[in-house]
């Protein structure tokens, strides 16, 4: 509606301007066709000259008053609106900036918290690993001691077996060497007596 009214006002102003222009253009040739002295240098010419000036000035003033005000008001309104939007954008940016700062501050706090938690976990892991390592060392030590003890027992057993074998082999050799026929007969008799005792027993 505003645009229609604006166009209607502009059309009406244009009509007035055209009429004034035609009147001025029509009067100038009429004045020029008259023979005689130059009217422009005459008082009447001067009056018309000023009248023409005032008319043109009035038309220009009217046009400026008619169309310049809304134009400049519109421009001022647009500029004010742009300024207002810019202020809003600035406020929003500041708000975002503050939120970002807050977030950054909380991120720093979180980072510190995570760092402390990681340090605590690392310390507990170190303690746990130290404990496990100690336990493993104990187990390895116990296994080594058991293995050494078993090897010692096996070695002792083997030594005993070797010693016993050597002793009995030596004894057999000595018996063969020194056993007389009478002693061998006595051994046989003892065996027979043992059989007889078995019978009576």
């Amino acid at each position: 509606m505003k645009a229609v009214a604006g166009s209607w006002s502009f059309g009406r102003g244009a009509g007035w301007s055209a009429a004034v222009g035609l009147l001025t253009a029509a009067s100038v040739p009429a004045l020029a066709q008259e023979n005689g002295p130059d009217v422009t240098t005459m008082p009447v010419g001067m009056v018309f000259h000023w009248l023409n000036f005032l008319l043109v000035f009035g038309v220009l003033a009217y046009l400026i008053a008619k169309f310049g005000g809304p134009y400049f008001r519109g421009r001022a309104h647009g500029i004010a609106k742009a300024i207002d939007e810019a202020q809003h954008a600035c406020a929003a940016a500041e708000q975002e900036f503050r939120e970002a700062e807050q977030k950054l501050a909380s991120v720093d706090a979180e980072i510190q918290q995570e760092w402390r938690a990681a340090e605590r976990e690392s310390a507990s892991d170190r303690e746990r690993l130290r404990g496990l390592t100690g336990s493993e060392i104990d187990k390895i030590g116990q296994a080594a001691r058991a293995e050494i003890a078993a090897a010692e027992r096996a070695g002792a057993q083997e030594l005993r077996a070797i010693a016993a074998r050597l002793a009995t082999e030596r004894a057999a050799a000595l018996i063969r060497q020194r056993l007389s026929a009478a002693e061998e007969a006595a051994l046989f008799d003892a065996f027979v007596e043992e059989l007889a005792e078995t019978t009576t027993g």
């Binding site: 077996a161 016993a164 002793a167 009995t168 008799d189 059989l195 007889a196």
Partner: protein, 178 residues
């Protein structure tokens, strides 16, 4: 569970004991088995189904007449041939010996000694074994110098060990376990 060989052995032992000629039967059967062992062809002939029963009998009869085998053993051999049990003869003989020993109250002993035993020692040992087993003992003897001294006697499945070698072995085990 009694085997087929055991049945034949028991029957022959009962007949031999009843006729009171067990030692002769034992000897004759042992001789015939020796002959069978020496001549593989004789065993093949007696065991072959291609040879008639009459021919086998004739062969055995000829051998019996030449070696002077008793009728008891001859008839027994005929039965074994007729029943085609010639291959079982070694087992029959083994079971027969055991059964005859059982019927006669004989215990067989195998004696291993480090040296040759004299008659007195053998007599003493046999007497001790007879008292021990409650049966008459018939022993055979071997020399085993590895025993060092003493003797090892086996009667049936029982072993009596009086050797120095075994005593030393026990001593060795005892020393090892200390």
């Amino acid at each position: 569970m009694r085997t087929v060989a055991q049945h034949y052995a028991d029957a022959l032992a009962e007949v031999a004991v009843a006729q009171k000629n067990a030692p002769a039967v034992r000897r004759e059967l042992r001789d015939f088995l020796g002959l069978l062992g020496e001549s593989a062809q004789l065993g093949v002939l007696l065991d072959s189904p291609a040879v008639s029963r009459a021919s086998k009998h004739a062969v055995v009869q000829a051998l019996v007449e030449r070696t002077g085998v008793s009728r008891t053993v001859r008839n027994f051999l005929f039965v074994v041939i007729d029943q085609r049990r010639v291959r079982l003869l070694p087992k029959i003989h083994e079971a027969f010996e055991a059964q005859l020993d059982h019927l006669e109250g004989v215990a067989r002993a195998h004696v291993r000694s480090a040296r040759t035993l004299d008659d007195g020692e053998k007599k003493e040992l046999r007497a001790a074994l007879e008292r021990l087993s409650g049966r008459r003992v018939e022993a055979d003897y071997d020399i085993d110098p590895g025993l060092i001294a003493g003797a090892v006697v086996r009667v049936g499945s029982t072993i009596y060990d009086g050797s120095v070698r075994t005593q030393l072995e026990r001593l060795r085990v005892q020393l090892e376990s200390q």
